[in-house]
Symmetry: C2
Subunit: 258 residues, 2 copies
């Protein structure tokens, strides 16, 4: 590529999170970087968009890197929309989201702001990747991520991704030397078993905190959960056509029009 | 069925919206109804969940129907979680969400709080259906919906739905006599072309309203958009395994571990 690729960077932990700062550093070596990211943490926002409230996006200067950066009051999906329509003067060659502090493997993909940003870019025909590290802490160590993020990104820039697909990449929380490599996977069948921590307000009214336990229901060795548990980086090609095509034939045997 | 089915009803427009009131009326004729719905409109929330804030759910009495009702401060997905874990004393036989004021056809499914509630129930192994009427107004006329909602619901109770699938039902905004029937469809390939309405605050700072135009990119006659435009109720089987299985083989040819 003679011209450096234009790379849009976003996330859902907020523009100052260590994970996105690391990702910006990696992307600065690959292309021209524009960051449009939420001004605060947006975790668990799923594919929310801001319909009933106003949005702002303003240029900010956080470090002395060559990237341009905009802090946005919206959700991750909003950030991608506003970047494409208002901030960038041409379609980006790539959108990367993350590096998320915490897993977006398996069923977590549907709750994930990180992945919703990647999907929003994918909807616009932009190759897109969500990156997540299996460590929820703010002080997570992203050192082991660099080479894997770089390799996957360069492959996407070289090979492209078909329309309708984005990549969901999760990295195990291991020292670089202990990571065995990259595995292409399917999304494991798993579930959250929620437990509500029920408390009383000082005024005596019941309220709840949502907590839960992740349960992997899938014994397959071709899943993202298996890869991560066994020391691999997982790459799941993820689509936003949610049609269960295999069930259409059965559904047509129902007596819906009698 | 000798015992009346237990039906969980929720939505994303809020517990007092005309669409859910209509749905409760229909479901009261089919089974024992428990409503757990957001205390206010939650449209565009996607599959958001409340991780960093507290939740409440309290019993309310809105009309003189036989249903039990709980108003919840959370998102549609939160409502289903709290219903299953804290409110209901057994697993419901069915979860219905809606009737949404406005379309959740095509790509709208990924932004939809209505469908996120249905998917959340599906994750728990509960047969689930999201219903939406193609009229965004609060005064939408739901009269044409009754028989179609009843037929689809009774078919789901009779036939079941395989694990991993929920139904996304959209109803055209037409008088009952003009609706031609029910069509099983796939999700149309479509997109929103956003336009940001840029304004200035009284203090002179830029801000935006998100607006947009829906663009159907899909000429197929087997899509939900086609069905709705041609006077049919659309039923799309919708899955939450987002893996693009057809792309795994190609992805394995990439040089990810060189």
């Amino acid at each position: 590529m003679t011209k450096r690729p234009l790379i849009l960077v976003t996330n859902d932990d907020g523009i100052s999170a260590p994970g996105i700062r690391r990702l910006i550093g990696i992307m600065n070596k690959i292309g021209e970087v524009v960051v449009v990211a939420p001004d605060r943490a947006q975790s668990g926002m799923g594919h929310a968009i801001t319909l009933n409230s106003t949005l702002y996006a303003e240029e900010v200067f956080i470090d002395d890197g060559p990237q341009k950066e905009f802090s946005c009051s919206g959700t991750p999906a909003d950030c991608v929309k506003i970047a494409i329509r208002e901030i960038l003067d041409r379609q980006p060659d790539l959108c990367v989201s993350g590096i998320n502090h915490g897993s977006n493997s398996s069923i977590n993909v549907i709750y994930s702001g990180t992945m919703s940003a990647a999907i929003e870019a994918g909807l616009e025909g932009i190759p897109a990747i969500g990156f997540s590290l299996l460590d929820y802490s703010w002080n997570a160590n992203f050192e082991g991520c660099d080479n894997f993020v770089k390799t996957i990104t360069e492959n996407v820039l070289k090979n492209g991704i078909p329309q309708g697909i984005v990549l969901n990449v999760n990295l195990p929380n291991l020292p670089k030397a202990d990571i065995k490599g990259i595995k292409v996977c399917r999304q494991a069948k798993a579930n959250w078993v929620e437990e509500f921590d029920k408390r009383k307000t000082p005024q005596g009214k019941d309220y709840y905190w949502l907590t839960g336990k992740f349960v992997n229901l899938d014994g397959g060795e071709d899943t993202d959960e298996w890869a991560l548990e066994n020391g691999y980086v997982s790459v799941v090609p993820t689509q936003f056509d949610l049609t269960a095509h295999h069930f259409i034939k059965d559904l047509n045997t129902w007596n819906l029009n009698d």
